[in-house]
Amino acid sequence: MNATVPAATGMRTRRTRRFILAGAVVMAILVVLAVWRGGLLDLPAAPRGVTAGQAGLANLRELGLRARALESLANGHSAEPSPSDSAFTRAAAGLAAVRRGDAEHGVSLLRGGLTLAPGDLVLGNAYRMAVFQLRRAHLTDVRGRESLVARVPVWLEREPLATLEQLHTANPQRETALQLALAWVDELILFSALEIKAPASVESVKLLSELLQREPAYVPALYGRGLNYLHRPSRLVWPEARKAAPDAASRDLGLAVAIGRRIGGGSPELVATLALTLGDALAKEGRPDRARSWWQIAANTHREPALLAATRRRFAWRDDEMLDRLEAEMGIRMADLDHPLTDLSIMWR
């Protein structure tokens, strides 16, 4: 009897060991299969061999230095190092003139600088943002006087679309196409009535889609088109013929994130913003759990107060109210005219 007790205990221990071993083997097989099949983030496959240049993510540091130099010069400070190309100096003089109050002359100089370097994203963005703020100021002024007629000066009326259209026709580059597409989004941000918003978004998506057919890995275009789809109201009638698939936004933004991950190099703010926006797209698509995971990734990528506050607001949304809360949040974001959604400086800040 005494001998059988240790024997039984030994058998039990052996059985436990076998059980643990079998469990470990099963787990190892499952881990390998899971990594092979789904990977970490279940993103669309980034094109093989895609380069930073193809993705539009090359030289972000240099772009950042150029943008800072432009700002310094426009504010009357010296910049070190200061680019000496005439496009840059002209644009810096233009920006300085706009800030001094000589808006017409300033815009003309900015336009002149951009004409000399049509593919320069920093100059293009500076021009577009300057025009955006000028038009906004005029519209605000009109609203303040309760007038029904928008008194935007004649020289500003057709900016920036006319200039960018001409520029793109003369220099059909991906950067000019991108600026033109974003100018349409600027239009819909400034004029939020559906009859302006819908065609402006359609026009922007058309331009970006053409661009993406030629350059399928161009991240700024993917991000721009994704944002367009994301900001379309989900419960209003949208031109049926142009209606996007429910996952259109998350596909574009997911691919942008996948390409960004493959190449690396974007600032934490850029990566976190992409993750947050992808979360928003998934929330709109009706995948709340997945959306929360992306918001969490955004919060862990860039622990900056404004971004953390944005993710925490989202964490508080219940599944059943998510779409309404998301649309309200996007409305607030769209109305933040001090930091328009289309400001490309997020790429190199």
């Binding site: 469990g23 099963v26 787990m27 499952l30 881990v31 299969l33 899971a34 990594v35 092979w36 099949r37 789904g38 990977g39 970490l40 983030l41 279940d42 993103l43 709340p288 759990d289 997945r290 929360r292 995971s293 918001w295 969490q296 990734i297 955004a298 919060a299 862990n300 953390l308 993710t311 925490r312 964490f315 508080a316 949304w317 219940r318 599944d319 059943d320």
Partner: protein
């Protein structure tokens, strides 16, 4: 027939529920102050008060007991944290269902549903679109906090002798997550991500280890933890929200069936868990 005497029921200091209650209270205080728990104190208060008062009332009516409602405290706090609704009455109803299940749904002389789980499932099913389970990412999206909570939770489980159950559930959850990803359902981050949320932490460290509604033996606890994980994994694969709560609910609902099988074999045992263990072991030895 003699009148039953009033009995004062006070938990002993070694009662594992005290440790659970302490842990849960600490979580709630930290969640409301340092972390981003995002709950309404009034709602937590309503859930807590409703559960405790009703538990005391029903204990008095059914058992002539004057109760220190430690179980109801744990359940009420869990409900206050886990349920999300704009209507405070939801918290009262969920607490009422939770406590009532203890007194009204019994197998022999023991309740077999985890009360807070019953309250949550009843609320999300019967009050659809009014009550939901609070979103999982309540720790402010900070994975280090989630890791700390996991560590502290496991230490607490060791103290309350439910580490085997919780480890089986966690291991089963990870295995089922891997299986879901291998079958094409998303990436690893999304499959394992819920483990960092408050919903998962509270389910793991406050709901399933409830000493009154979890198995008495180590082997049975491991099987129980794995069974919850497997059913949860299947429900998640089918895209069913609140899968953890449904899985625990469904498995608890099966417990009384063991009594039927046991009765056919001549096994008589008041505790539904011990009945289940004896039926599964196919023996008639009482479970120690």
């Amino acid at each position: 027939m003699s009148e039953r005497q009033l009995k004062l029921v006070v938990p002993k200091l070694r009662d594992p529920r005290l440790m659970l209650a302490l842990g849960l209270t600490t979580w709630t205080v930290l969640g409301q102050t340092l972390l981003y728990f995002n709950r309404d104190l009034l709602q937590i208060g309503v859930a807590l008060a409703s559960a405790c008062l009703l538990d005391m009332l029903l204990a008095f009516v059914f058992h002539r007991q004057v109760l220190v409602p430690i179980s109801a405290y744990i359940s009420g706090l869990s409900l206050g944290i886990l349920i999300a609704s704009n209507d405070w009455r939801v918290y009262m109803l969920a607490s009422a269902w939770c406590v009532a299940s203890k007194y009204l749904l019994r197998s022999s002389d023991r309740h077999f549903f985890n009360p807070s789980n019953f309250g949550i499932v009843a609320a999300v099913v019967l009050l659809r679109n009014v009550a939901t389970v609070a979103p999982g990412s309540q720790w402010g999206g900070e994975w280090r906090v989630a890791l700390l909570i996991l560590g502290l939770g496991l230490l607490m489980m060791r103290r309350v002798n439910r580490l085997d159950l919780v480890l089986a559930w966690l291991g089963g959850y990870v295995a089922m997550s891997m299986l879901r990803v291998a079958l094409g359902q998303g990436g690893l981050v999304f499959a394992l991500g819920p483990m960092t949320g408050a919903e998962f932490a509270l389910f793991t460290f406050s709901m399933i280890p409830d000493p009154k509604t979890s198995p008495p033996t180590a082997g049975a606890r491991i099987v129980w933890g794995l069974a919850i994980a497997v059913l949860d994994g299947v429900l998640r694969f089918l895209g069913i929200r609140y899968s953890m709560f449904y899985a625990l609910f469904a498995l608890c609902a099966v417990l009384p069936l063991f009594r039927l099988v046991a009765a056919a074999r001549g096994v008589h045992e008041p505790d539904p868990w011990r009945v289940a263990v004896r039926v599964l072991r196919r023996n008639s030895e009482p479970v120690r």
